[in-house]
Symmetry: C2
């Protein structure tokens, strides 16, 4: 039952991902046609620099006028792999208005304007798919919004940024400091010249907003995501983690509160036990651990970035959107019916590992313990180490709110006997 009129696909952007999408559309054309039920045809490619040679793409398909391309009116699907907010946003809404469905890999845009884009898609009866926006090739959006549609997700713990995982893995395995590990990541092409978006957690925060929104059927804005980068993680932190049987990962954590009435989303470095499946995620790989009420603990693992892996996710969406188009239907749209409140970071409850530099004299521990008790933060273990008049106290707490821990730390800093708070690290995944 193969239809002969091909489905027309326009590509916005032809960089690392776009060129792979175009290549696979050509080399796997027969497979794609069989799986969709109709051939797909690359109808146009919008680029910024038309003079660059693009192997395998007919020159007459290349244009610098992306707006004219999405306005053609005969397109079935527009694939947006430009990234960034504008012009991607306007091009996507224009594409909907002119009859096309959209596949996007744009995490920043979906995180910031997902609700408006979904509304535009619905207005025009078109599809918006974006599997590639989170964790590259790893099927994650579809499993969360379809496979787990009959379940209740309580927590998502994800390593969703390959650059930072590479750096932290390097620090863990070699004892290197942050700067040395970053330099290696840069030299190997895992980190960009300006690594801010990765190391400060902006990239992971966008993904956390998207994941939380889908997992909890609730709109979670980028501003709702508490964000801490990993530039201050030290070799000493890794040594402390190892003593606890843990390693350190930059995690995107989306949680439903114990009473079910609210959710939180956050990105920060955290200690996790070595026995946790996320602890053994090496190099630039990504993995997302999902805890749901009926399914229990699931993990999805794979390459989180790169041209071919991201193209795989884009093409999976392309096949789905084309099938929907042939069937005259659309896939699942935004699901935000639960509309749960997103609580601030202060209400997050977890455990903490705190290193204090203290005076090496009697009574310090009693003072410190009193401060914890006054703020309602219960201590699990304390380790004291003294040398040369200097001493350190490592405190691991029971579960407490971030607000209570913050108050405790403020009060500790005011103690004469506390010379400094060397590090505060949350402990997750226990």
């Amino acid at each position: 039952m193969m239809r002969t009129r091909p489905l027309k696909v326009a590509l916005l952007g032809c960089g690392v991902v776009g060129s792979e999408v175009a290549r696979i559309m050509t080399t796997q054309a027969a497979d794609l046609a069989a799986r969709i039920g109709a051939p797909v045809e690359l109808a146009g490619v919008a680029v910024r620099r038309p003079d660059r040679v693009r192997e395998g793409i007919a020159p007459e398909l290349v244009t610098t006028d992306a707006t004219a391309l999405v306005k053609r009116g005969d397109l079935d699907v527009v694939v947006e792999v430009i990234g960034g907010i504008e012009p991607a946003r306007t091009l996507i809404t224009t594409a909907f208005a002119h009859g096309a469905s959209v596949v996007s890999a744009n995490k920043a845009l979906i995180a910031q304007d997902g609700a408006a884009l979904y509304a535009a898609a619905e207005e025009y009866g078109k599809d918006l798919y974006y599997e590639a926006a989170v964790a590259g090739a790893i099927p994650l959006i579809r499993p969360l919004r379809e496979s787990l549609a009959g379940d209740k997700v309580n927590r998502v713990l994800g390593i969703v940024n390959g650059t930072t995982n590479f750096i932290l893995d390097k620090m863990d395995s070699s004892g290197a400091g942050y700067q040395e590990a970053l330099d290696e990541a840069t030299a190997l092409g895992y980190a960009e010249a300006d690594p801010t978006a990765d190391v400060e957690g902006f990239d992971a925060a966008a993904k956390a907003a998207i994941l939380a929104g889908i997992a909890f059927h609730t709109r979670v804005r980028l501003d709702d995501v508490h964000r801490e980068g990993m530039t201050e993680v030290t070799a000493a932190d890794f040594a402390s983690a190892r003593e606890m049987g843990c390693t350190i990962k930059l995690l995107a954590i989306c949680e439903r509160a114990a009473d079910g009435g609210s959710v939180t989303a956050r990105v920060h470095p955290a200690m996790i036990p070595l026995a946790h499946p996320l602890a053994s995620v090496r190099g630039a790989y990504n993995a997302v651990f999902v805890e749901s009420e009926a399914a229990g603990q699931l993990m999805f693992y794979g390459p989180g970035a790169g041209g071919a892996p991201t193209a795989s996710a884009v093409l999976g969406d392309l096949v789905a959107v084309c099938r929907n188009r042939l069937a005259g239907t659309t896939g699942p749209g935004e699901s935000a019916y639960a509309a749960l409140p997103v609580s601030p970071m202060g209400e997050v409850v977890t455990r903490y590992h705190i290193s204090l530099d203290v005076a090496d004299k009697p009574g310090v521990l009693a003072q410190v313990a009193t401060v914890f008790a006054e703020h309602g933060v219960s201590i699990d273990t304390v380790r004291q180490q003294g040398k040369d008049g200097e001493a350190s106290l490592v405190v691991v707490t029971h579960r407490a709110s971030d607000a209570a821990l913050g108050g405790t730390v403020d009060a500790l800093r005011k103690l004469d006997t506390v010379r400094g708070v060397a590090s505060i690290m949350r402990v997750e995944g226990e």
Copy 2:
């Protein structure tokens, strides 16, 4: 835009999985309705023993006449969690003929008669979904047939049977023998009184047939799957594996041949390197490792069995099928267009770890090496151990076909100096 007429769902079977499906349909009714766009109503439950108390299910819904239930004509979806070939097969085709789509958790039936069931579903324009048939709660069917629809899967390596993984993990961690580990699995409820289907690999073989079919867009029959159980794995095998930096898992392996022109599917115990993500899958957990051309290496991990996890997969399918029904469409049907030949086991190419009991005298190694060379099997490493006139030779080969290895072993057995072949184990995942 909530529709008020509920979608009617009949449940065939109300055991461990069915009762969880019914429970979640009740407790999560509002969420399911919001996600589907219409309420779902449990319209009938077919059971064998109507006298058993079924908490939360209205007695008037319970019937022993499954055939009459699926013939009602007003059902939207039939959920089949009876298992086995008959009466499940007839009930499913009857359900299609009377207007219902079907969600099944029945691996044996799908593996044996999937093509015929798909044909029946298509004839009546209905859906057949079966995410729960492979690896319980782990989203796997949907990612393979939808997320990776634009990619080319080359290999699937799966731990798809929790019972055998529990036993092998126990043997690995405690040094226990097979029988001792099986006894513990039985005592803890991980193994059934008759564990044959699990330990002889029948259960995993059914899953391998299903996975291979979806991964390669090719019909793979249960008979096409080479199957070896794990009852002969010994503590000595684990010791050998550890010396190679490996552990032993019962794997379902589906591969595309290097030339792309054929596929194979098999189930057997195999050594895999400790660094492979599958090596750290503990206890009764399942995990499936997928290698595809663009996405690279992906892994899906989670509970492979159990009432609630399996119900999660069933309900995800139920939501999808109900959405399709409201949209007046159906999801992807059978995709077997590639119709690749399924090669016999002899053509599988992998590495081998062979332990031989040999006479402890000069020249044995030369004789053994000659036999390998004559059969075109290249040796990677050899280790000799002698004690008390007895000696053993451990040979690890380079990649060779199963047929070549079989010929080698037959010839080795005929050597006077070879007293026995203690074990032959394939080495995978390198």
